[in-house]
Amino acid sequence: MTTTLETTRTSTTPEPPRRTRTPSYLRTQSVWTWVTAIAGIIIAIGVLLPIIWMTFTAFKPESDIVSYPPTLWPREFTLQHFVDVWDRIPFARLYVNTIVFAGSVTLISLLFDSMAAYALARIDFKGRNVVLVLVLLLLMLPFQVTLIPLYDLLNGFGLTNTLPGMIIPRMTNAFGIFFLRQFFLSLPKDLEEAARVDGASEWRIYSRVIMPLARPALLTLGLFHFQYNWNDLLWPLIMSADVASATLPAGLALFMGQHVVEYGLLMAGSLLALLPVIVFFLLIQRSFVAGIATTGLK
């Protein structure tokens, strides 16, 4: 009933007369908008310069790369570097290593982080604050301090130069625990209470109630983990003695150390290494950026 009444009232309200001319102050503003737009696009292209340069150079033959003066646009096109990169660098190997490393760290860490976060946010028990303080403390301390003993420890287990050795220490993350705890705290308790009254176990509540509700937070954190580990240089560099057991960033850096001058090959390899991350980001950038924005507000 009420709906009909409201609709009729809206329809009878006369529309305000449309302005036909834009007032002059708006027109000067639109000039400014164009100036802003042009300035913005110049800034954007400046920021993208290394990526643009990398892309174009990857298609230049070596003779073009070394000829003076250097140009942005290739004088000649070639696909040779994209063919060579698979033979000269164990590139397929690096790719698989990186996917396995970043992928398994992300999945395992999401599981362990969320379990710990669930206990810290939803279960009332003695010692909870102590654990929370410990997590916050570990969040603050630089991980580089662990590098030497960690290498020594994994070396003792024979796990250096192996993927498990690279993955195992990263199976959980203080930031991830803290991030998910904050998110779980913001979820309403009603559903969970209902499940508890029905006699559901904590594991059931965690896996069937909380985890489905936490999907956006899990997605954001998963992206953080994946991107961080895919891109990481120092850890894979220390853990791998040669190019073949490294991930893409470490492998390319090691290759660059040995063959400084082969820029065409390096640029093709770098482009192939960055492309999946860039494409992936462009597809899901909205939720990723929203995730960062919410972390910013604590």
Binding site: I51, Y68, Y151, I177, L185, L234, A253, L297
Partner: protein
Amino acid sequence: MTTLHQAPTRGDSTGPARPPAPRRMRQTTRRAITAWLFLSPALVVLAVFMLYPMIQAGYLSLTNYNLIRAAEWVGLDNYVELFADPAFWNAFWNTVLYAAVVTPITVVLALALAVFLDRQFVGRAFVRTSIFLPFIVSLGIIAIAWAFLMDPNVGLLSYWLSQAGIVSSQGVLSDPDWAMPAVMFVGVWKSVGFFMVIYLAGLQSIPGELREAARLDGAGAWQRFRHVTLPLLSNQTMLVSVMALIATLQAFDQIYVMTHGGPFFRTETLVMLIYREGFQELRFGYGAAISWVLLVFVFLLSMIQYLFFQRRQVRF
């Protein structure tokens, strides 16, 4: 976004029908066991691969351990050597310089870009994405492109700079005066987009009436920014400065790729030095001592910064 500010108050209602005392006791214990079971995988990993190595680093720093020789207690010898070692002080001051230049530039630039990109204009989404993109890509990989751009013979950026009259014939990365600014520049480039996004979210959470009210009171654009926007962004400023400072103190990736700490150790930071002493010279004890200095340094600075900003937090 604002929902996180006002997290719903959780009523810890135990329900009207309270179970008798002994059963409740058992329930508390059971709940505690469940909680620890949930925590155990994460806690085991954190304890074995984070906490233990951290403490172990402290112990190793008091030994002369290296990969071949068993650890031998040397007391504070490493630290004595460290504080007399010009290589350490060089790396220390390089780190301080890097942090002291990169942090404020990144924060101010992130704020300026956020204010700029908060306005409506054609192509805004493209500009925002472009500025954010460096944060997504691997610094270790993109630094190869930067090194190439700055190559004295075949680099485009070097060529443009030489056309503009700024000539460094040996290339900026081999020039002792220019190598540090070059890696600093790449450091700012990498992280400014990330902090910009945090500021943008902050700008969007400021109620429009506040700026409007100031405008009606006759405040100019700068005054509105200075006295309304900026104070209301101080939560973001705190977060961004702490994060930027901690990240700059750990600078490594682009330095390793672009200069490897050179020329003449001009860009060797503390983390680079840990890498060199620990993993190239294989002096685990000495490297561990440097890493403990870094630990204490990072911890102290973040505490100071936290306390400093604690006093000026705003809520609205």
